[in-house]
């Protein structure tokens, strides 16, 4: 399934706009109590236990990974234009997106339930 470039760019703009809102909420969560207290282990874990917050973090992960790595892909394909480089950049982008989302989801799942205090 190959996407047309116009579809990729629509995704880029939509994820950018959506990420703005979810990241704003994420930042505000650090400001509802004194900043240093909000970073204490117990408070952070309490945040992760909140299922809505976990969903928020997951959506930040996905939206920013899509937007950011697509941006990196655009910068890289503008630098060189041979077939190997472009295919390599596409593969690298997809793998990077999947890796970072997987790694972040692992953190969210482990911090959310599953036996952590």
């Amino acid at each position: 399934m190959t996407l047309r470039e116009s579809q990729i760019m629509k995704i880029h703009y939509i994820t950018g706009l959506a990420a703005l809102f979810v990241v704003a909420v994420h930042i505000i969560m650090r400001l509802i109590m004194p900043f240093n207290t909000s970073l204490e282990y117990g408070n952070v874990i309490a945040n992760y236990h909140n299922i809505l917050y976990a969903i928020l973090l997951e959506s930040i992960l996905i939206l920013i990974a899509l937007h950011g790595f697509n941006g990196v892909r655009i910068i890289l394909i503008e630098l060189r234009q041979n077939k190997h480089w472009e295919n390599g950049v596409t593969i690298f982008t997809i793998i990077a997106m999947i890796t970072i989302v997987a790694y972040g989801t692992r953190t969210i799942i482990m911090a959310n339930g599953l036996g952590f205090e």
Partner: protein, 169 residues
């Protein structure tokens, strides 16, 4: 691309010139400005500066994002790992770095919103009959103000971030 029709559109003189140019220059990459063209934002006005800043902040933010996802994963290794991470990041240098992140993300977002409108063709003016001194209508005060607003918002956010991080509560 429609290069299947291209050869029929070339005159024989152009074909000869292209052959010579290919021999001499080996590829069309010769004499391209390359990365230097991206890195110098000072020659062409506000929009070029915005392009340069948007790219720079974007690259900085994706690097920060990767680091942030890794740093927060120390939660999964327990209280000690988390506190060790906090020791590393809750320092004056760490705070300064975070303030930079706040500034760059604010600029990137606000300028990005302006760019979404521009790329959609809004706020640029309509085509008309150009007249001396042939100023471009797309480079108008609305776009310039938008870039200024993005810069000012970034500065305000950085100031607020400084007050929270260094203000100490």
């Amino acid at each position: 691309m429609a290069s299947r029709n291209f050869n029929t559109l070339c005159t024989s003189g152009e074909k000869i010139l292209m052959e010579i140019s290919k021999e001499r220059n080996n590829n069309d990459r010769d004499n391209r400005e390359g990365l230097k063209g991206w890195l110098n934002p000072s020659r062409y006005g506000w929009e070029r500066l915005s392009y340069w800043l948007q790219r720079l902040t974007g690259v900085f933010l994706i690097v920060y994002f990767i680091g942030h996802v890794y740093e927060t994963s120390s939660l999964t290794r327990g209280l000690d790992a988390w506190n060790a991470m906090l020791q590393l990041t809750q320092t004056p240098w760490g705070h300064l770095f975070l303030i930079l992140v706040i500034g760059t993300s604010t600029f990137h977002s606000s300028n990005g919103i302006r760019l979404i409108f521009t790329h959609a063709g809004k706020g640029l003016g309509r085509p008309g009959r150009p007249d001396y001194p042939y100023d471009a209508i797309s480079l108008n005060y609305r776009q310039r103000s938008g870039i200024w607003v993005a810069l000012i918002l970034a500065a305000v956010a950085m100031l607020y971030g400084t007050s929270v991080l260094f203000g100490g509560k």
